[in-house]
Amino acid sequence: MKAISKEADSPASVKSFDVARIREDFPILKQKIHGKPLAYLDNGATSQKPQSVIDTLVRYYSSENSNIHRGVHSLSERATADYEAARAKVRGFINARSEKEIIFVRGTTEAINLVAQSYGRSFLNSGDEIIVSAMEHHSNIVPWQMVCGQVGARLRVIPINHDGEIVMEEYQRLLNERTKFVAVTHVSNALGTVAPVKAITALAHERGVPVLLDGAQAVPHLRVDVRDLNCDFYAFSGHKMFGPTGIGVLYGRAELLEKMPPYQGGGDMISLVTFEKTHYNVLPYKFEAGTPNIAGVIGLGAAIDYIQALDWNQVAVHEHELLRYATEALAEIAPVRIIGTAKEKAGVLSFVLDHVHAHDVGTILDQEGVAVRAGHHCAMPVMQRFGVPATTRASFAFYNNVEEIDVLVKAIRRVLKVFG
């Protein structure tokens, strides 16, 4: 978490976060699982949606559904206006310079694939090197391996230390005249580590190397400012930040996006088509071929409205407290080993139990109403780094409370009882 200054902590600006009231906004949290109140601690996989996002989707399909950028009729004009208004909200949310720099995609995975295929295949050559970190999600490894195979480039990996932190000295050693791209995660989905992405970007830029940041796990927890980070690309998903599934964002610096070829061809991404030649549309439409996820985009706009109405000083204090409380409670259970002990963390508590596999933990926790992720978290190299086949991951959002962590702790004790 970002450090909260004393000033921000003062009673004048920060009243304690009213989590009970916030929970009222999320209808799914009211249900019971196996007769027990749901404790949803799988936010790293996907977050729950506030009623305002659900209502927005219903309203769109009930009163506005139509195609955008083409109809002269009223519904299409309304849908187009709302779609583009959501783009403006995203621009403001991450402080991009222009709406041209906001490309709507299916999610983080598609955003990274877009950059790997469009930028990578055009501007990377045989012998070039792409740097990623050892704590990437598969979606920030495989697209780069694919482009390496296509152009003959080589993937280099920044190691992480035993706490799950990027080793900056090793990164500096890896940077050389062959380095042509850097792609790292902002927050690790498996470990919760907040990476020093500003420093990573600055070092790459000293050599004129563009940087992509995977922000999927960062946007639900940190206020992201792409101009402050100074990254060239930033990718994130709507569904992990209280918006709908199937919608995500690629932010790209306009001057890079301008010189990149389209990722997919089709409708909406053209300005003129003949069988001899096609003229591509301007940014951002050049990268949005076909009818987009209109409802998803408008729903994502509603999620941003929801997030921006919260007091983020309060949210940060609350989430920091949840993570601290959970970390200390789990550390008291002897057979628990926490994986990922970086100084700066956000939202994730990964752990293993001696002699009990994560899947068995997950099944027993579910019986207590506790939803967690058990497995390799699409980050098999991280599991190999720590010598474990899988971990159990509790991941938090601002609507979680300490009572849910108490239930988690009780459920872990039941696991230990079952396994003797």
Binding site: G35, H357, D360, T363, G375, M383
Partner: protein, 150 residues
């Protein structure tokens, strides 16, 4: 409601803690690897097959209690049995795990492996229990591509 005690029975916990035939086999003439790509469970099954008879069988790997116990119970059950019996058992166990057969009807056909019948109430865990079986099937078929539960 699915009952946890049906899943984690004493016998299963025991096989998880002290798996039988848990070793590599140098004299094996068939061998296959199995992965569950979803969770990363991994098992290697070794067979010494002579004249259609499973003279010896062992396994190694890492996985949850259900996958380990299922593999352990399987090796105990198949040792000394014919290849034909193994195929029949594979089919019956698969039906039991997926809930195609239930209760006494299914249990009668799988002997001691009926202890795994509770798995059918936990759909997310069926692949854990069936991994070793898919792998032994691949080993019997002489297929050296890794078996998966997909």
């Amino acid at each position: 409601m699915a009952d946890l005690d049906d899943l984690y029975q004493e016998v299963i916990l025991d096989h998880n803690k002290s798996p039988r035939n848990f070793r590599a086999m140098a004299e094996a003439n068939r061998r296959a690897e199995g992965y569950n790509p979803l969770c990363g469970d991994h098992v290697t099954v070794y067979l010494r097959l002579e004249d259609g008879l499973i003279k010896d069988i062992s396994f190694q790997g890492s996985g949850c209690a259900i996958s380990k116990a299922s593999a352990s119970l399987m090796t105990a059950e198949l040792k000394g049995k014919s290849e034909t019996h193994a195929h029949e058992l594979f089919d019956n166990v698969r039906k039991m795990l997926t809930g195609e057969t239930n209760g006494a009807q299914g249990a009668g056909k799988v002997g001691k492996l009926a202890i795994l019948s509770g798995v059918s109430k936990f759909p997310a865990r069926v692949k854990c229990a069936s991994l070793a079986w898919h792998t032994v099937n691949a080993a019997l078929a002489g297929d050296d591509r890794p078996a998966t539960t997909e």
